[in-house]
Amino acid sequence: MKFKLGVLVGSLGLLFSALPLAAHHSFAAEYDYNKPMKITGTVTKIEWMNPHARFYVDVKDENGNVKNWNFELGAIPVLLKAGWRKDSLKVGDTVTVEGYMAKDGSKNMANASKVTLPDGKRIFGFSSADSSQ
């Protein structure tokens, strides 16, 4: 488990205050609610950075071809408040990501609204998808 249980339990209350507060840009300006997506793959890189954290996941299709996806998370202060830390995701983790595709047509680029960790825990991405901000 990548999250300390205490942190997660402790942040449940915080979730209520932090949940809808996410991004510095409009969700709808960059991502498309009409294009939900869900993939499972292996984390290849985490960018714990401003203005939004990002992570990258290698996904194998039915033909065995691997594509690298780029996911946007929320702003670091919001992720921190929700219990995320710099090392919450690690390279090599198998994760399932649900989110919305980029609006500008970028393939394999999306906004992560939910991330399921290897142990089955689901955490919110706290990205702009959570609020339509």
């Binding site: 249980l5 997660l8 339990v9 402790g10 942040s11 449940l12 209350g13 915080l14 979730l15 209520f16 205050s17 949940l19 809808p20 507060l21 996410a22 510095h24 840009h25 409009s26 969700f27 709808a28 300006a29 960059e30 714990w48 950075m49 401003n50 203005p51 939004h52 702003a75 670091i76 202060p77 919001v78 921190l80 408040k81 830390r85 710099k86 980029a102 609006k103 500008d104 970028s106 939910k114 089955g120 825990k121 689901r122 955490i123 919110f124 959570d130 609020s131 339509s132 901000q133």
Partner: protein, 487 residues
């Protein structure tokens, strides 16, 4: 533990965020984006209102971002303003300058933490994010005449009973009043009424008067709750901001960052400082409060003794002076200063250091006896974590937790994330501030490096001027000019 997405309240809150019963969002059309204002938070912790020694409510603390209360009426708008509001919805709010990491400006409420630092004559608001900057409310004084329009305007405050009333004018017309994009003109006059209802709940009534855009005053009631669970972090929105290239329909997407960055504003040279004795706080400590200006060059007086890899990095940076992060509106980090003034606001619990220059990224020196653990849990930052202890009349500040991206000065002197800075602050008299720095960085230096700086007190007529670096780096913004009809 259950999956978080099965917690009904969370699901409800998500839904509420998408479909709020909040009149401030523009009318929802099928297939059209609706930018909702978030639902009000659950109440903050119970308890009585803390009070200052003068008997006023003490608003100090870290507060969660202001949220509008539900069910408030729509404002009555002039046609041009209504049309612009609707246009912003149809273009998915792409022209929101907040996505360009420019300030919201009052009365817009960022969703991030903010901290109130209160003294009898000055109340300062420190914003965690967007932008990581500050506002000042000057008590019992009058607006200067001939104000130049700025993002934050000029704020004067007074107490009406237990309510702090803040009057702001001198605002530019670039900011949005809220996330749905209500516009305003430079005629806007904002009155904020801050009332700490109890320990954990701060009520803020915003009264917006703008005859250029609204037919009558518009009242927005908001609330913030006290944050007790987590320290405030540092949100540097403009670092790596790739979003402008992906924002669709946007006029402002056509605006690009100036490729070589921007030059910092020219230094203001103060007259010789006043003579007088070192001021003391009510607690008998040296009071470092004041507006301070560096004497001499902001660059380090010599080169630290570098490890080979960092010597190489230094040589590379010296050949590329335009890659200085300060030119791209990133914070100076720790140990670096520039020639613009710095204001120190001291309370028993902390000193807030408010720079005029660059990104206005404040730093806090904690005097409450804490160690570094609370801040370091959140990761490293440009400004690190500063804790202060007293050695007689000297304030000794210990700083760790910095990232390795800042330069130690404009020549590109590098450091690593192992940098540990000790600052020794001395105010030998009214007009001088002397700081002795020791930089230890075992990854980057072969031995610790020490130097000294002197600052002088600016005259009482000086105040921090608003310099928003991102405005210069990204502007001008075509869609944000001449929106209101010409008079």
């Amino acid at each position: 533990m259950k999956s978080l997405d099965l917690v009904p309240g969370v699901v409800c809150l998500l839904a509420c965020a998408f479909f709020p019963a909040n009149a401030q969002a523009p009318a929802q059309a099928k297939g059209k984006a609706v930018r909702a204002t978030p639902p009000p938070p659950p109440p903050g912790p119970a308890g009585s209102v803390p009070r200052t020694p003068e008997g006023k409510p003490d608003l100090s603390g870290i507060w969660n971002g202001q949220r509008a209360l539900p069910g408030q009426p729509d404002p009555e708008m002039l046609p041009w303003a209504r049309a612009l509001l609707e246009k912003r919805a149809t273009t998915n709010y792409s022209d929101d300058l907040e996505a360009r990491c420019l300030p919201g400006g009052p009365p817009r409420a960022a969703p991030y933490h903010y901290q109130v630092v209160q003294t009898p004559k000055l109340v300062t608001i420190l914003y965690e994010g967007n932008i990581h900057s500050y506002r000042q409310f000057f008590l019992d004084s009058e607006h200067p005449k001939n104000l130049k329009p700025t993002w934050y305007g000029d704020s004067r405050a007074h107490w009406e009973g237990d309510t702090l009333v803040v009057d702001t004018i001198g605002l530019n017309d670039k900011s949005w009043i809220d996330m749905p994009g209500h516009p305003h003109t430079a005629q806007m006059h904002v009155i904020e009424r801050y009332h700490r209802r109890d320990l954990g709940n701060l009520e803020i009534q915003n009264i917006i008067e703008d005859p250029g855009a609204y037919t009558k005053p518009w009242v927005i009631n908001r609330v913030s709750t006290l944050e007790q669970g987590i320290e405030m972090s540092e949100y540097v929105c403009n670092e790596n901001n790739l979003d402008p290239g992906h924002l669709d329909f946007s006029e402002t997407s056509k605006v690009h960052m100036k490729p070589n960055g921007v030059d910092p504003p020219a230094a203001r040279r103060p007259p010789p400082p006043p003579a007088g004795a070192t001021p003391q706080t009510a607690q008998g400590r040296v009071d470092f409060s004041g507006l301070w200006v560096l004497q001499g060059s902001p660059n380090l007086p010599s080169d630290p003794s570098y490890q080979p890899a960092f010597q190489k990095l230094y040589a590379e940076r010296k050949s590329q002076p335009k890659s200085d992060p300060e030119r791209y509106c990133l914070p100076d980090g720790i140990a670096r200063v520039n020639s613009l003034p710095y204001k120190f606001v001291q309370t028993p619990a902390l000193i807030a250091v408010l720079p005029e220059g660059n990104t206005r990224a404040f730093r806090r020196i904690f005097l409450d006896g804490r160690d570094h653990s609370k801040q370091l849990e959140l990761g490293d930052t440009w400004s690190g974590d500063s804790t202060g202890t007293w050695d007689g009349d000297t304030l000794v500040v210990d700083i760790v937790g910095v990232n390795d991206r800042s330069w130690l000065d404009a020549t590109g002197k590098p450091h690593s994330d192992a940098l540990h800075v000790t600052e020794r602050y001395l105010r030998p008299n009214l007009g001088h501030l002397e700081v002795q720095y020791t930089l230890a960085d075992p990854k980057a230096f072969t031995k610790p490096y020490s130097f000294r700086r002197t600052f002088t007190l600016a005259p009482a007529s000086w105040e921090i001027q608003e310099y928003i670096c991102m405005d210069e780096l990204m502007g001008p913004f075509p869609s944000h000019q001449s929106q209101a009809p010409k008079q």
